[in-house]
């Protein structure tokens, strides 16, 4: 009881993050994810196992009431359902399905023994499974005993109970057995309820609300911090420093985790031997919050209490920085835990309040903070260097806005390997007569790497500045060549007043192909390709078909990797890790992904994001492979445009 009160108080007193956003699609999500168990079916067998148990639990809920009524007076029964043959059949069916589900669970845990359970409390899980068995078994046997006594309604509709009724001889012995069974059933259920708040099975109460509170619009958008220094001080937060800082959703996340490990299984950091596991992170935070519960509640009530810092008391620094924000964990989680948001919140405090971050990332922040406002500290004028030899319209202040503002991005402008894509895109747009222009020297970093690192303040400065420039220029449509810029412009700038129709370059190019304005000759490029889905284009924003349309058009075939589309394995550059060293774990994330690409036997790794291009190209060189790494736009340009006579 105490634990239940404590946990509900922790959730109740946690601050509500009003910036999380609206309510679109929540009802739909509750229906498909909770009722329909959609995310659980992302793994078929465990999905079936859980669905049987969960649906069984829902259908059998009224039987618990029935049992409690029967304890008082065996003659009492439920209104409506008590006399329904359909319900009797459903009870029989679903109780049996629960047992089947339990059997599958035992097989998974004891025979298959998947690695995702590493670090989970398996003993606790076993006890819970046993308890569920106890509940369902006592129910079936009680029903069976009532069949034997002739007091069960519509026994013809209950084949399983009828079969089990053979165990009972009838008469006084069975009467007593029946009483014992109904009492056992109710006691086990009540015992379970008492055990619930202290265990991970609490998810049966927290999962549905957690899904309800999940951010609408997907995982690409991070929730802004209110950093108005002139505003009320209570609102001013620099991220999550202690357990008291966690928001209501973040706290609910911690109590919804069932330690299933689906997130751990797909985490690129964990897969390459680093200490970060999203599951363990959530578990560690949960244990820390529970241990500090009293102090947290006291602090929130205004008491002067010293709380332990979450980093490093609950979570190591290294674990916080290993994250590439790819969102694979969030995608897998059946109860919509948002690990990435919590990790970024931890980073926010570390960076803005404590200046505690990997030293190599200092260059990134200095570059963005400094006068040139880009991660590589390149002069703004250098943003035009890639246009050499091409006639690219540069939007000057006062010019009318073009149909499309081509947002090049810092990588696309400064990085040699990324410039190939930029030039290709520009040439393709020009060849189709598309009305576009670039901002050139007036472009600045969108702020994505700063935000992912946790430097929210710096990000907001850049966002506000860019929104102003885009607003003054009258821009309504943007095509972005970097998946990160695309995500930030489309999903995050609206929080700062920037509302545009934002397309990724693959979307626009695919459309041009569809409209017949580009006619690629597939055999011209000649090669087979394997498409690497960038996390910030694919998983975070659901754009999978556009890059595929381009690859199909421009190359002989797209040989899909095993981990593709929403299951794509990160290149390792997200979460500002492009600017950090992977000092632990082998092989590296990019090497791992490249190996997967090479195994398809394709000639080219097709990418759609400059980070991916650079990371996979590095990996190719490291592996001594002669596999080519190229953006889909480059492949398209090669197959749809006449070659440039002079490449500067």
């Amino acid at each position: 009881m105490h634990r239940a009160r404590e946990r509900s108080a922790l959730i109740r007193t946690a601050r509500v993050d009003v910036e999380r956003g609206g309510t679109d699609g929540r009802v739909g999500r509750e229906l498909t994810q909770v009722l329909g168990q959609r995310k659980l079916f992302q793994k078929l067998t465990p999905g079936i196992m859980h669905a049987f148990i969960f649906w069984g639990f829902l259908i059998l809920l009224p039987t618990i009431v029935e049992a409690m009524l029967a304890i008082v007076d065996p003659a009492w029964s439920l209104p409506v359902l008590g006399d329904s043959a359909a319900f009797v059949f459903a009870v029989d069916l679903f109780a049996s399905l629960v047992i089947v589900g339990l059997g599958i669970a035992v097989w998974i845990r004891k025979v298959q023994r998947p690695d995702r359970f590493r670090g989970s409390h398996l003993g606790e899980a076993d006890r819970i499974l046993l308890t569920i068995l106890g509940i369902v078994a006592t129910l079936l046997l009680w029903n069976a005993s009532r069949v034997a006594l002739g007091t069960y309604p519509h026994p013809a509709a209950a084949p399983v109970s009828r079969a089990l009724s053979g165990l009972f001889a009838g008469g006084d012995g069975t009467e007593i057995a029946s009483r014992i069974l109904v009492w056992s059933h109710v006691l086990i259920v009540l015992g379970f309820l008492a055990y619930l708040p202290g265990s991970k099975h609490l998810h049966i109460l927290t999962a549905a609300p957690n899904v309800w509170l999940a951010k609408p619009g997907g995982s690409g958008r991070l929730v802004p911090l209110r950093l108005d220094l002139e505003g009320p001080e209570e609102d001013l937060r620099f991220g999550a420093a202690t357990a008291a800082d966690l928001s209501r959703k973040q706290t609910l996340d911690l109590f919804s985790c069932t330690e299933c490990g689906r997130c751990q299984e797909v985490c690129p950091a964990w897969a390459t031997g680093k200490p970060l596991s999203p599951k363990l992170l959530i578990m560690d935070l949960r244990d820390h919050v529970n241990a500090e519960a009293e102090r947290v509640l006291s602090a929130r009530a205004g008491g002067v209490v010293e709380l332990q810092p979450l980093v490093p008391s609950a979570v190591d620094d290294e674990v916080v920085w290993d994250c590439v924000t790819c969102g694979a964990c969030v995608r897998e989680c059946p109860v919509d835990i948002e690990h990435v948001d919590t990790i970024v919140d931890l980073r926010r405090h570390l960076v803005m309040a404590e200046s505690r971050f990997p030293a190599e990332a200092g260059g990134l922040l200095r570059g963005i903070e400094g006068p040139n406002e880009n991660p590589w500290s390149q002069p703004a004028a250098a943003r035009l260097e890639w246009t050499e030899g091409l006639d690219i319209p540069v939007l000057q202040p006062g010019d009318p806005a073009p149909e499309y503002l081509f947002w090049v991005g810092c990588a696309g402008a400064f990085d040699e390997r990324a410039r190939a894509a930029t030039r290709s895109i520009a040439r393709l747009l020009a060849a189709t007569g598309t009305d576009f222009a670039i901002l050139g020297p007036r472009e600045r970093c969108t702020g994505d790497p700063a935000r992912r690192m946790g430097h929210e303040y710096l990000f907001q400065q850049l966002a506000e500045r860019n929104v102003e420039v885009l607003g003054e220029a009258g821009v309504t449509k943007i095509v972005a060549s970097c998946a990160h810029c695309f995500n930030t412009l489309a999903n995050e700038y609206p929080d700062f007043g920037g509302r545009y129709e934002v397309l990724h370059h693959t979307e626009l190019l695919a459309r041009l192909i569809k409209e017949g304005r580009l006619t690629p000759r597939p055999t011209a490029a000649g090669a087979t390709a394997t498409l690497h889905d960038p996390c910030y284009l694919g998983r975070h924003n659901g754009v999978f078909d556009a890059p595929r349309a381009i690859v199909s058009a421009a190359t002989k075939a797209n040989l899909e990797m095993p981990r593709n589309k929403e299951r794509s394995f990160c290149c390792g550059a997200g979460g500002a890790r492009m600017w950090m060293e992977e000092l632990e774990g082998t092989p590296r994330i990019n090497d791992t992904r490249f190996a997967e690409a090479a195994a398809t036997g394709a000639d080219v790794v097709a990418t759609a994001c400059p980070y991916c291009t650079v990371m996979l190209d590095d990996a190719a060189k490291s592996a001594g492979s002669d596999m080519r790494v190229a953006d889909v736009a480059t492949l398209l340009a090669e197959s749809a445009l006449p070659p440039l006579t002079v490449e500067p």
Binding site: E360, G363, W376, S377, E416, W579, M580, V614, K621
Partner: protein, 318 residues
């Protein structure tokens, strides 16, 4: 007359160079300047410190740790009552200053760029865009940690040798106090990458760890040259991470940067684009580094580098 003390640390090589900067800064205040020196050879520093304006040196020749140094300083402060004590912002300086502050309870200011009077100092904030004048409060002595290179070391024309007063550190009754048993100095050949006038850096093109021997030989013929590496070479295990130049490694600003077998990807270039002159040796005439280089040599580095080394040797007679 007001007195300012300088905390000086000594190593085998003599007093830390920053001590002389502190002495010059102290001299500008007028008043008496004295030094409290710790480390082997402290008692022989009378002339050196005298030439920079100190009138007295409290010398402790023991290789004492920071705890002992702080204790000794506190005792001396009780005996002599200086108004101001300056420390260098070095590991030793910060350690002793912090411990001393805890003992005396006086005010400790860090990151000072100048001391203007005995109770005023100056610092910079917000990335050096604002200068702040700081007024000290609290009892004397005031403790100040000076930023490196805030003053120029200048000898006085006629500085007599300072009077040397030997002091001992009292042995501590605390059995937990660590005793320094020995010092191990890592001998590094040549200047560090950060200070080197010339950096010879190798990339993937060198092909192996042995390939770097060529660069070591070349660097050996140039005075003040250090060997660096691109990420590719470090990843391949040919050079240690400490020599990595680039976005996730070091940033260097030598007079001459010689990039051998380095393609010049942006991630590397950001670590060396501040170099005054860039020379690139690469078999690919279209490598991005060629655009950045003041002089680009297109050729096989296995021929070019030894030939260069030979030519330098011939001309310098080394």
């Amino acid at each position: 007359m007001a007195t300012v003390w300088i905390h000086a640390g000594l190593t085998e090589a003599g007093p830390e160079p920053v001590t002389f900067e502190l002495l010059s800064a102290a001299r500008s205040l007028g008043g008496t300047v004295e030094v409290v020196a710790f480390g082997p050879g402290a008692s022989a520093t009378g002339e050196d410190f005298g030439a920079h304006g100190a009138s007295r040196v409290f010398a402790c020749d023991e290789d004492a740790g920071p705890r002992a140094a702080a204790r000794t300083l506190e005792r001396l402060i009780h005996e002599h009552g200086p108004d101001l004590v300056l420390f260098a912002t070095s590991y030793g300086g910060r350690d002793v200053a912090a411990r001393l502050q805890a003992r005396t309870g006086s005010t400790l200011m860090s990151n000072a760029t100048a001391v203007t009077t005995f109770d005023r100092a100056r610092t910079e904030i917000l990335g050096g865009t604002r200068i702040v004048d700081v007024q000290f409060a609290g009892p004397t002595p005031r403790l100040v940690l000076m930023k490196p290179r805030s003053a120029e070391a200048q000898a006085t024309a006629d500085g007599p040798a300072a009077e040397v007063v030997r002091v001992d550190t009292e042995p501590s009754a605390d059995l937990r106090e660590p005793r320094l048993l020995s010092r191990q100095a890592q001998t590094s050949r040549g200047p560090s990458l950060d200070d080197a006038r010339v950096v010879v850096a190798g990339g993937r093109g060198l092909g192996s760890a042995e390939g770097f021997a060529m660069l070591e030989a070349l660097a050996g013929t140039i005075e003040g040259a250090a060997v660096g590496a691109s990420r590719a070479a470090v990843d391949a295990g040919w050079r240690p991470y400490a020599s990595q130049i680039g976005q996730t490694g070091r940033t260097v600003k030598p007079d001459v940067y010689l990039a051998v077998g380095i393609s010049g990807a942006l991630q590397h270039v950001v670590g060396m684009k501040g170099s005054r002159r860039v020379i690139a040796v690469n078999k690919d005439a279209d490598a991005p580094i060629m655009r950045l280089a003041d002089l680009g040599v297109v050729g096989d580095l296995a021929e070019v580098v030894p030939a260069l080394t030979e030519e330098i040797r011939r001309r310098t007679g080394s």
